[in-house]
Symmetry: D3
Subunit: 241 residues, 6 copies
């Protein structure tokens, strides 16, 4: 299990977009860390936490069905009660949306345990109710079928696939209105600071472009533009001071 | 054709979620009654009615094209004018969204005839205009192409497939912000009452969980929790009295 | 390259729905001009302009990667700086949404150059930021991955495929809350007027239907209905006068 | 139900390819008569017969499960015992291959009843055994699951969809190593003769091309080539005499 | 890990079809044990063995790439050298066929270690060479890309998903020309005998049908047919004696 | 346009598998050069040549339909008559298999012009006849529909996408029983020699593994194994001498 990432790093990551984080990860050689076709139910909320993974396999009739309602044996329920402050529950549902992975009551429990969010490449049920909960949640679809219609919760905190991306227990998981990006925890602090810096720079660039500038020399910035950006930072810092 | 379900049963079904109804149907042995990948245009509206089915097959050039504009022969138009109060028009479009199944004018006519809603695993056209109509409508996609681009309306009130689910004429069809569930009419009253009861119980459970309780012993509820729930109902009833 | 379509024609096209335009195109023998599975980020905005096409092919490691940041060589960047007033940038992304085609900074530049909109059958990144820009934008998905993760911008202003539809440079491209329709520029004026006329007629029909009329004799309209419509136009004109 | 097509017409149709038949159907305005993604188990056999249609809808637990083994009620079994000489059993499986539509015993029965073939856009089970039966069979996949895993046989001899194509009872259904084409029975005789004529002409053209000729003037043939073809027919006829 | 199934049970299972085994599993309440869209490279070979499972997750650049060529650390290589006599290597590739799971050299090693077969819902590379090896192999596709293009071998002998079916370490895995079925080891002996008995009965039924009998009373067999079958078994036994 | 690759390089490439070539391309940093889901009609033939590309866009009714039969204007026909000795015709069909890209007569013409093969991510028609032609051909599916049902041939010798891979005019295209790999022409000679060397080494390794050796130390080979391989080459050379 990865070590806990400092809260200030997670806080910083919540200020930057998944787009910026994908750029930073690419600079570090990572090509596939944004979950494909996984969408926010609450695009107004930002999420940053560490992955508590839960893996579903296809239902099979001899896998302990009586465990469905046993909170001490059913891995879905055990996972929920394992959530610690700052955890993002990430569920590998094999991209299968013919049934849910969980619903609004378990979502509420994740929130009350201090969870930072829930992510799956499967479906949620009670999705209208989940939208009303102030927890960042991300899924591929809504489906009212019970999870055990097609799924069996098999393991907790093993490496999983979610939205075509590898997710390891403890990975930093960041979400915004666009979707979800995964960052190995060892890189999180470095990525967070570089991303925050990049966003500052791109806000400057964006302002220039929005004001009518050509992208030539500005995006990407040439030396002159960078110098002007640095100068503006000084003045901004002064302003903020 | 199934018998008419009493209005109070349909009214009760409009108060419960499709999630709860899927749970109740599973208790009765039904595994596949929630339409896959069929979404509400108006998630704010609830729907409950009985299925008037319409089946589209692929367009073929020798199938009477002149009937396109003949309201007395074209099965799509005949179906619209067959809608009675409380009917949900359910259209089997084979999940093909490369063209629409109908548009806003026919939608308005369904509403004025007292229809309870429209459901298809195909597309709607004029979808922005349909969203402005106070009728629950559910589809897989929006597509501005005329329905006869790919479809031919073949039969009315035969068993159909919609969203991967069997729908028989007269089936009870319930929709909410999550999607659509199908209930054989003979089960509707029993399911409605059990679902309403389940929702009461789950509201109690949800309140506990939201207040910080563990799911252990609460969701699913053990004997103590159930006793407390029963007690609360008494007091709630008194309060409401 | 097609000739410029008069601004008043584009203005008229912005007042009619893509549904109506598909009807008009079908009357002229066109069956496949509505882009499949391409959605508005800003369903509140209408778009009408002429296509500036950009074709992406799959990334290959020997295609000039250093051009990624060279605004004078990279075809994506050159296309952006080629946008003229009234152009709609249409990007053929082969329907592949595993990475973006562009993000918010380039979108802002299209707006400031007078572009009429951006359309792709691929993804946008920075989609929450793009939604905040007052430019009509249409895509298949949101994805934070950089475009060169899977794409290489190969050519500008060649015939392309987008959403399963042929788009030629200079084609008129119209969008609304439902999606995007493509009209050969030579047909645009004729289609625009016929569509505006059709919408007037259908507003009349819609009002009748909404008021409780049967569709029989009204939709499609028979001679009596058409006469009443014509009469109403006179009075409407008078009213408006 | 369509009338019986003369045996000599069916015999003639078995001598021409589905490619040629698609060409002939296009000349008559039909764009969509070749079944998509439906493959021969026995590419060495040619098939021509008339459609006996069978429609499957999704399984639902209240649809008479006891009928599974009742040959007098189960529509699948009734269809099999309804096969007459020259019939092609065409099964609408909604393209769903997660279970079979039928297996080798029912296939053998179709053969012994004089059936001309079996076609489905679903799966067969016992496919290795079916391959050993001298009956043309066409499906989308092989799957050992029992048909009632996902299907319920709902109706016999109604219009269906198969492989994205409309199939009406009595339609002429022709198959070869490439796949299956559907021809309205009223057109069958005319199409058969025109197709046979086209194949003669294309054999001549093919021989020219194979001998090194350019396609220019030959494919499609210009007046000279057509005259040479006509001349060659004379000599061929003499040779055959 | 499941116990070893007796060789005579595996031998018996190799004599029956996956179709028959699916029937037997359904009698025991199992609905989803046939792998979807997984095909034999060698349809002439039958397979029966016990699952050694291998799970791939999506490639990520920080997962130990140097282990690619380290047979003592790379889980793919460790799995190969863990194969014992009678094992079927079953690889969970998430159904992703954009790269291989393994090629002909590792296949040869599985054979020489006494492996009973290889199954994956991903792809093989060197598939023409694998076809030449006398080992039953099953995959979804052929793809020449190296496995680490998209995969990272994560775990050995954990529960996996393959072709939409749960596979547990030690499960009995049987394959034929149709595909692959999974049987919990505890059921294997019972299923094997019942399946062999069913095949005997169905051979009798098939002979009747092939000889021209109706299916009514024969398939499924009524009491008379069963009596005749029992009588025939006696005579067959005598003949064989 | 790329320069012509020496015939002896193409000849050498025909002796190595696409699997080996993908390995060599990966060593050079290329991750995506094997066409996805494109299959040989003639797995017994090997292909090596240089790409003559042809791009199809979706059919549109105003694109010159009269050109369908004009060999001097229709780009499909012009492409066929442009084939030179050693060319592989590679057709970008956007992966759409609802109609063919070409049929047996044009295939025969490619052969007689000295073409080295035909590749498409669309379909062929007359596929049984094409299988009888001694030309390597690769496609995604068979479909008897005429190409202009859905396609319009737009351009010759431009960069295209085929099977998810970039193909540039003049690229070396190699095919075997597994599929097709694309190699920039500038790399062809180097890749060919390295691949031939790799195959020699892997034949040695394969023989070891097939003889019962562990993969440890052999695959990948350690220093000892490599020394033995080098020694064996000497003796082999001597033997061959």
């Amino acid at each position: 299990m990865a070590e806990r990432v400092p809260p200030e790093v997670l806080a910083l990551l919540k200020t930057v977009s998944t787009g910026t984080l994908c750029s930073q990860m690419r600079h570090r050689g990572f090509w596939n860390v944004f979950l494909h076709d996984v969408h926010p139910l609450r695009p107004d909320l930002r999420m940053a936490g560490q992955a508590l993974t839960l893996r579903y396999i296809p239902r099979r009739e001899d896998l302990d069905a009586t465990a469905d309602y046993d909170n001490l044996k059913n891995k879905q329920r055990v996972a929920i009660e394992s959530v610690e402050s700052g955890d993002v529950l990430v569920i590998d549902a094999r991209g299968d949306t013919r049934a849910a992975t969980l619903g609004n009551i378990l979502t509420a429990r994740v929130l009350s345990r201090g969870g930072a969010g829930i992510v799956t490449d499967g479906a949620f049920r009670d999705s209208p109710a989940i939208k009303a909960i102030d927890l960042p949640t991300f899924c591929r679809a809504a489906n009212a079928n019970l999870s055990n219609t097609i799924h069996f919760p098999s393991e907790i905190n093993v490496p999983i696939a979610c939205g075509g991306v590898a997710v390891l227990p403890g990975d930093v998981v960041v979400g915004d209105g666009e979707g979800v990006v995964v960052i190995p925890s060892a890189l999180a602090e470095n990525v967070a600071h570089a991303a925050a810096e990049q966003e500052q720079r791109e806000k400057f660039i964006y302002a220039r472009i929005a004001a009518g500038s050509s992208i030539v020399g500005v995006y990407p910035p040439n030396t002159d533009t960078l110098r002007e950006y640095e100068a503006s930072r000084g003045s901004v810092s002064e302003t903020h001071a």
